[in-house]
């Protein structure tokens, strides 16, 4: 139910559409892109970031929302919290029940390790479940992992860690095959050939998908397999602190049962952090595409244990978050809409950016169009957005394409009486992905012995900007590597006493800097009580 004013604006979009169908907006030169990002990307706004004053990344600038958490104290008192009773004793503790955590758990169990998967909400409540567009892998004849490597590097601003990118692109086809053999219903041609398309920043059509429920299809398949294999899962039991022994090795974690408010002590020879993203921190005050539990817990716990972070100053905003209707503000409109040919159009009915530039560029261009050029469309609640001309898709690919390829999107808008096959949709950048995170090597190891990280919580593989389809890939590649490697390592680990010594040392460092206050972290869940977000 668009307002009359919005319908008038849509008429202009419809007038320019026939011409625009034959038009191709030029791509940015590297210099133009650099200028665009520096002037309009939220990461570069003054007062958005400050240096963290304690810990392994002392002096590094990152968004205030991250620094606030990293400079907080533990929810536990390291001097009095009892560690004498151990509730679980396992080879591999996986913290986080999304795609990375579940992949890790499956591989660890396959390798013969005893596994416990602890997750904050339900098994499968993760950003994985909402990923829509696709998963990249270079398995077509005209493509190769080397070309994929180049795309990833360029997309990341050439800051990516080479070993991590190599692992990502070389493991990719194997990971798709693994998912296929688990029964994932990838969209295929009748002969079994994978249906693949472009994403932002790709030079080959290597995005595999399952309609626009790709993440959900992967997640429910992995979750079902974990259940079939009897992997122990503790739901509603987020970790609040890692444990270390007197030698500084990671030795397990303390979990908190959200429903009974009880703490659980898990002794584990290896720990895999797969806690996902940070969207519910609302960096820069933006709405987010992320799930309810995305509060960067893993970063906080790993940091206290001595793990280094990387690229946290680079936050990914998805260019096309819902700008209208207000009820679903910030929710994801998949890049696939642009991949299928829809153009971004301003209030004058004109294109202003090539739709499949990398996300940081498209986001910045939309912000520039609205803020500097004043060519955005204003919603009844005063927000700005630009049109994403979705009806172009059926015109280009044939009637019914949108319904077939984007059922989740169609349904989302139909619930609010908007038909995206007939009318364009209004979009604006939304907080989407944590490009950086806890630094790992290609074995998914951190600098803390026995501590592994996989998925969005890790940093280095995407550099400063992740390409579409590489996150679903990341979680499978490094989830599997973490699980396999942790299981192998667990065979030789000798643990000492369980301690919270690293927390005590961290509190002491905070106190020395005058930062030891009352604020605690991880926050576990955002607090939206008493207001409309």
């Amino acid at each position: 139910m668009y307002t009359p004013e919005m319908l008038e604006s849509i008429k202009i979009v419809e007038q320019t559409r026939p011409r625009r169908l034959k038009e191709s907006f030029p791509r940015l030169t590297p210099e133009e892109k650099d200028r665009l990002l520096r002037s309009f990307h939220p990461d570069h706004m003054p007062d958005a970031q400050r240096p963290v004053r304690v810990g392994p990344n002392k002096g590094d600038k990152m968004p205030h929302e991250h620094v606030d958490l990293l400079e907080s104290r533990s929810v536990l008192d390291p001097d009095t919290f009892p560690l004498d009773r151990v509730d679980y004793d396992v080879d591999v503790l996986v913290i986080g029940g999304g795609g990375a955590g579940t992949s890790a758990a499956l591989m660890a169990q396959e390798a013969g390790a005893s596994v416990l998967l602890a997750t904050k909400l339900r098994h499968g409540d993760a950003n994985t479940m909402m990923a829509q567009g696709g998963i990249q892998a270079a398995d077509k004849e005209n493509d190769s992992p080397a070309i994929h490597y180049l795309d990833v590097m360029g997309g990341g601003g050439f800051s990516n860690i080479p070993e991590l990118v190599a692992a990502l692109v070389l493991d990719a086809p194997l990971c798709i095959q693994w998912l296929e053999s688990l029964g994932c219903m990838f969209s295929k041609f009748p002969d079994g050939t994978m249906n693949t398309i472009h994403g932002g920043g790709t030079s080959r059509k290597r995005m595999h998908f399952a309609h626009d429920y790709t993440g959900a299809e992967i997640m429910r398949t992995l979750r079902d397999e974990a259940r079939n294999r009897g992997i122990p899962v503790l739901e509603f039991s987020p970790a609040v602190e890692l444990l270390t022994d007197e030698h500084g090795q990671c030795a397990g974690a303390v979990l908190f049962n959200l429903e009974t408010q009880q703490y659980l002590v898990v002794r584990a020879r290896t720990v895999i952090i797969a806690t996902g993203g940070c969207g519910r921190l609302h960096i820069g005050g933006f709405p987010t595409t992320n799930h309810y539990g995305a509060t960067a817990d893993g970063l906080v716990m790993a940091y206290r244990a001595g793990a280094k972070l990387i690229f946290l100053e680079a936050t990914q905003f998805h260019p096309t978050g819902v700008a209208f209707p207000e009820q679903i503000l910030g929710q994801l409109v998949t890049e696939k809409v642009r991949g299928l040919g829809a153009q971004l159009v301003n209030a004058a009915g004109e294109q202003f950016v090539y739709p499949l530039e990398t996300r940081d560029a498209v986001s910045s261009a939309i912000i520039r169009e609205c803020k500097e050029r004043g060519k955005g469309i204003t919603t009844p609640s005063g927000r700005q957005g630009v049109w994403l001309d979705s009806p172009m898709i059926d015109i280009i690919h044939g009637k019914g394409t949108i319904e077939r390829e984007l059922p989740a999107m169609v349904r989302q808008y139909r619930r609010f009486n908007i038909d995206m096959t007939q009318h364009p949709i209004l979009v604006y950048p939304t907080l989407h992905y944590q490009n950086g995170g806890i630094l790992i090597n290609e074995r998914a190891e951190t600098g803390v012995p026995n501590l592994y990280v996989a998925g969005e919580a890790s940093g280095g593989v995407h550099g400063r900007n992740r390409l579409m389809g590489n996150s679903l890939l990341d979680i499978i590649v490094f989830g599997r590597r973490a699980g396999t490697n942790a299981a192998a390592r667990a065979k030789t680990v000798q643990l000492g006493r369980l301690t919270l010594d690293h927390v005590r040392r961290f509190h002491e460092e905070l106190a020395r800097e005058g930062l030891l206050g009352q604020r605690t972290a991880p926050i576990l869940l955002p607090d939206y009580r008493g207001r409309i977000v």
């Binding site: 590297p30 190769s144 070389l170 080959r204 207000e326």
Partner: protein, 227 residues
Amino acid sequence: MAEEKEMVSIYIMGKQYRVPYGVTIMKAMEYAGYRFIRGCGCRGGFCGACGTVYRKPGDFRLKVGLACQTVVEDGMHLTQIPFYPANKATYNLEELTPTLATLLRHYPEMTRCLGCNSCTRICPQELQVMDYMAAAQRGDIAKAAHMSFDCLMCGLCASRCPAEIVQYNVALLARRLYGRHVAPRAEHLARRVEEIKAGKFDAEIERLMKMDRLELQKLYDARDIEP
């Protein structure tokens, strides 16, 4: 512009709250002071955590929606169903055949279906649940898989079924059977996996890994883009 927002009354498990007009049930409950632990997941209509049932005064009809996607109505009497016990069979997908016999062996209660359509009526995704179950009962794995594909596994169908079937678990098995045993394998994918295992791309990747930023940038800018 929201100065004096219009308010409506909703009843959360029988208790009245005044909440702003036009917001979703999820945001209304948080406005009222709830901090979700159960009943909130992706907040975007994908995970099925927030299945909510409601009635309005003077109307016997039971309505349903996802709390994160459904707008409040004045007089709505609602509750969430964050969990419903569900029979889930354990299986080894590798050993199964994509047949009716497989479905029946794991979910024999399928045959108790009365054809009452309660499952279809309660589905927040508006799926044709009874129809996909009918396809399953005919052994049409492909049809059951495709028709159920958008299922969020929210559990509302199972909560209403008089025959005590868990439709979404039957559908999940059908989909996995389809993906593993019916859909043809991607040949090009299998070939590429073998090539990688044989080290065909190792030298090229190693060369790329050693390049500095300038060299990589040159190669990157010179990429030909598949049309």
